[in-house]
Symmetry: C2
Subunit: 206 residues, 2 copies
């Protein structure tokens, strides 16, 4: 948390802690308000800095969103390394990463901010589409070559639904379940989406 | 569409077509803006009526939301009758109802309006929780007595995720898939959530 170097971007960076404070405030504002209702001013106020500083650091709201709403490196690495383990347990291991990501307030804010933004404003949807495709797409491509894009979206759709039901709408009993139970419950769906047969052989529709 | 009688509620009802026009406008506004940003004035404008008429018909925004965001009777009946068919295909049949519901613009607006409302404002979350629990809960209770509430929320979470990914964020290839393919893809997850074993026997967590 303390020793990541500031980005070299041509501008003179402020201390990392200020940049971190702005990033945290931005994540919370995006998570609570969605992309269109979050403002430089509101983010600056929450971070306790001048709005001009936020503009100087990030330039545009889109650039700010892109940077602070990227998954934390640990989560991204955990996702990427799932392909290395046994195929028979990949759904379960993905469930562990996803549920763990949603238990941590920082990465949960990122996920919820993406969802709120995509759901509240069409302009933000493209941004969200891009981030989700990148994060889940590489994992799926590594475990199967049978319709990987479709499988990635199916996984993503269940992640979004879980995040909303458990952490936003807080539907019981899901909202109060221990993380370990949630992992158990969604692991089979993930396993199916990742490596199960997508099409059944049944051909009996009317 | 034309011959449903107006509700007898003590007030003198307007013609059914006016009430229908208001209900349709309200569904679109809730679906596009979410609960907190939809207004009597905006709904009245879209329906081409005086705002006072909307207030007279529905009283409060909450009452309006409750009435127009109830699932259409045909969908509610289709959900309720799923329990009568064979257990081995209940996931598939649920997928058919859910995907069909999302293909129809009117019921899709209802689903999206609930999601946008729940995601955009905490006050609307309770309303949405209530409607989802009622709609899916009775089906699940009819097919199993093993943690029916949990199963209902799991199904609901996948419905929400599907609706968002396919119809709001429009992530490809999911957004362009024929309905029949989507049914195939999500049927196994629904089957698992409805009647599959919720807990695996594996007990090897660290």
């Amino acid at each position: 948390m303390s020793s990541e170097g500031p980005k070299r971007s041509g501008r003179r960076p402020g201390p990392t802690t200020t940049r971190d404070a702005i990033a945290e405030a931005a994540r919370r504002q995006f998570a609570e308000l969605g992309y269109d209702r979050a403002t430089f001013r509101g983010i600056a106020t929450e971070a306790g800095v001048d709005p001009a500083l936020v503009v100087r650091f990030y330039g545009s709201k889109e650039a700010l969103f892109r940077e602070v709403m990227a998954l934390p490196p640990l989560v991204a690495e955990a996702l990427a390394s799932l392909a290395d383990g046994p195929r028979a347990t990949v759904g379960r291991r993905l469930a562990e990463v996803v549920v763990g990501m949603l238990e941590d307030p920082r990465s949960r804010d990122i996920v919820l901010g993406r969802i709120r933004s995509a759901a509240s404003h069409p302009d933000a949807a493209a941004l969200v589409r891009e981030t989700v495709t990148r994060d889940v797409g590489s994992l799926v491509a590594a475990v199967t070559d049978d319709e990987p894009e479709t499988r990635a979206v199916l996984v993503g759709s269940q992640v979004v639904g879980l995040a909303l039901a458990r952490h936003v709408v807080r539907v019981e009993p899901l909202a109060s379940l221990p993380a370990g139970d949630v992992i158990e419950y969604i692991a089979p769906a993930f396993q199916q989406y990742l490596v199960g047969p997508l099409r059944t052989v049944v051909e009996t529709e009317g």
